[in-house]
């Protein structure tokens, strides 16, 4: 591991990569603050630029920096405007916004920055310990196990991402898998479902899909419902006094310690991620707090601010574990990162550490650097960066739309792609209206090709479906997947039965 850290240090401390970290963090903070642009949209917009860099290490460092910056920027708009730009920072607004109302905006931002720093750094240390261990286990996996593992990942995402409606999330996952079968796959050398259209021959581009699923609907919602960006008018007041007292630091320390570990492990689970980690972190700390402190929660408690901020950053780091060790993204954001890596000819997975150790370790080391950059560089800049919130929406929205279009165009240089983007975007907006989760769709789309490849490989090796029986681990994984999908429905069913006063069978 020491050797790896050395490789990472050399790679990450090159001038180019240091610049990438700084640029990524700044861009992420800058854009993440805007309502309507979450980390997924920002990373999707940045991908063409990252691919253009050509160097996978630099590209991944840039994108990871953007990711961190976006989460941090999202908490800034939550605190200052009560307008979270990112789902993962909704819980931050619970206590951050009341603090800002009391005139403690500067202190709230500092606490958020320190908590993010601690969460991100502790998360990166845990990543350094767990990722190599997990990837040495993952080397024992065959294509059958990979198939099983991906099915588990997809079911877990459907089970957790759907707001209590697993069937809807499953439907979106299947739609993603179906979309992935369009075009000419490497496996069979024959075009499928292209309907004879040349433009579909190479399949649907994942950047276009990502833009259409996340950036466009959010922008459309901003247009439709001005209240969503209400805060964007006239924000950016004076921010002074960034300090917090020693007593407050002692009060926060145990919260930050607990939430970094808890957040990290929630982030590792597929489908959970920063949003769940931050809400759970908030809830846990609220229950642990005693008497007066508990009553403070929701009215500007420093613990209530530190808990979700630590947890969401630790979870972001945690979500890199399945991506880097198994090549399976656990969240929409890491799915987009996976797409970018594949485009750069790097296949994340257990072999990543042995084949391209410099990529793996440079990313981890740059996480530390990124956290320091966020703390040292961004914090003093916050009062100035916050001015961006004063951009009127009449100018902001056309720009968001324009960057969405550019993101899809630069990658392909194909104007038809833009029409596909608009079409898919309208579809995605309708799906959002009907409360369908869109992250499972994108993850299904990105995993679809790999899932089918591994499935086909196992079928060929075992001449049929025997691999399910002959490899007990695959069998176990598939049973786990079925369990994950059925459990929420079963529990809801039992809860209903109880509510109706009917005696349970067991």
């Amino acid at each position: 591991m020491l050797e790896g850290i050395m490789i990472g240090l050399t790679a990450a401390f090159s001038i180019q990569n240091l610049l990438m970290v700084v640029a990524g963090c700044l861009i992420g903070t800058f854009i993440g603050m805007l309502p309507g642009l979450g980390p997924m949209s920002i990373i999707a917009i940045m991908i063409p630029i990252a691919i253009k860099l050509g160097d996978p290490t630099a590209a991944l460092i840039l994108l990871a920096g953007v990711y961190y910056g976006a989460i941090f920027g999202g908490s800034t708009s939550s605190i200052l405007l009560n307008a979270p730009g990112v789902a993962g920072t909704v819980a931050t607004a619970f206590d951050g916004y009341p603090m800002a109302r009391k005139g403690q905006a500067g202190k709230a931002l500092t606490i958020a920055a320190v908590a993010s720093f601690a969460g991100g750094t502790i998360g990166a240390i845990l990543l350094m310990i767990f990722a190599p261990a997990l990837s040495s286990v993952a080397l024992l996996f065959h294509s059958a196990e990979y198939f099983g593992l991906m099915v588990v990942g997809l079911s877990a995402i459907a089970a957790f991402a759907g707001t209590g409606q697993v069937a809807k999330a499953l439907m979106m996952t299947l739609l993603g898998l179906i979309l992935a079968t369009v075009g000419e796959g490497a496996l069979y050398n024959m075009p499928r479902f292209t309907l004879g259209l040349m433009d579909l021959q190479s399949g649907i581009s994942f950047i276009t899909l990502a833009m259409a699923m996340f950036a466009l609907p959010e922008a459309m919602f901003l247009v439709l419902h001005p209240a969503r960006s209400a805060g964007a008018e006239g924000g950016g007041g004076k921010i002074t006094n960034l300090r917090f007292s020693r007593a407050e630091a002692w009060a926060m320390a145990p919260v930050i310690g607990r939430q970094s570990v808890q957040g990290f492990f929630i982030g590792v689970l597929p489908g959970a991620g920063a949003t769940i980690a931050s809400f759970l972190g908030y809830a846990v700390e609220r229950n642990l707090a005693k008497g007066e402190e508990q009553a403070e929660f929701g009215k500007g408690s420093i613990k209530g601010l530190a808990a979700p901020e630590t947890a969401n950053n630790a979870a972001c780091t945690g979500s890199f574990v399945p991506l880097l060790t198994l090549g399976i993204p656990g969240s929409g954001t890491t799915a987009i990162l996976l797409g970018a890596l594949l485009a750069l000819n790097v296949t994340p997975g257990p072999r990543l550490m042995t084949d391209t150790p410099e990529v793996f370790w440079a990313v981890i080391i740059s996480m530390f650097i990124g956290n320091v950059v966020l703390l040292v560089l961004n914090l003093p800049l916050i009062p100035y960066i916050a001015k961006i919130l004063a951009i009127p929406r009449n100018f902001l929205i056309p720009f968001i739309l324009f960057f969405t279009l550019m993101g899809a165009y630069i990658g392909q240089n194909n104007a038809t792609e833009l029409l596909i983007l608009v079409g898919l975007g309208i579809g995605a907006t309708i799906l959002r209206f009907a409360d369908y989760p869109l992250a499972p769709l994108l993850i299904g789309f990105i995993l679809g090709t790999m899932l089918e490849d591994n499935f086909a490989r196992s079928m060929q090796l075992y001449r049929g479906l025997d691999f399910i029986v002959e490899r007990p681990m695959t069998m176990g994984l598939l049973i786990l997947a079925a369990f994950l999908v059925l459990l929420p429905s079963y529990r809801a069913y039992r809860a209903r039965r109880r509510a109706e006063g009917v005696a349970d069978g067991d």
Binding site: K52, A83, T163, G164, Q165, V166, A167, K168, L170, M171, L174, L175, I178, T181, L187, Y188, M190, R192, F193, M220, F221, V223, L224, H225, P226, A227, R228, P392, N394, F395, I397, P398, L401, F402, L405, M406, I410, N413, A415, L418, L419, L421, V422, G425, I426, I430, R432, F433, A434, D435, Y436, F455, A456, M459, Q460, R463, G464, S489, A492, R496
Partner: protein, 164 residues
Amino acid sequence: MALDRWIALVFITFCCAYGYLAFFTMDDLLPPFMQRNPVWPSTFPKVLSVMGVVVGLIVLLGLEKPDAAKEASATDINYRRLQDYKLGQALMLLALMALYAVALRPAGFLLSTFTFLFAGSAVLGERRWALMALVSALAAGCVWYLVQEVLGIFLRPLPFVFGV
């Protein structure tokens, strides 16, 4: 019938069409030597279409009850109040995006981007014409410079009549 169930119905129809292609037409194209394989190009789509129909039916028939109604926040969006929203603006912006896609090649990047940004803010109700023109022109110029000169990705700047 609620919107989510209509979508489920559309999805089932889509899966049926997809399944029809997979079950009945794809295998005809398969060369004989590949037919001895245990897995065909159509195998995975067949599985997907069947699962899609099953899951779609679960949503359509409402077999899975949603959780107790979530409290609606002021910023939450609800399609039942669609006419209260600025639907006209949204549709016009979408049309503008489609227009941009069509015009980008023939009209060149600078002109179409300027028009898009200018018209976009006009649609949203901005009336400070001079400021709008300045911002749009500046943005179109800067982005073109960044993409073409710094990143080295070709973007035709001027309308096609001027060559290049």
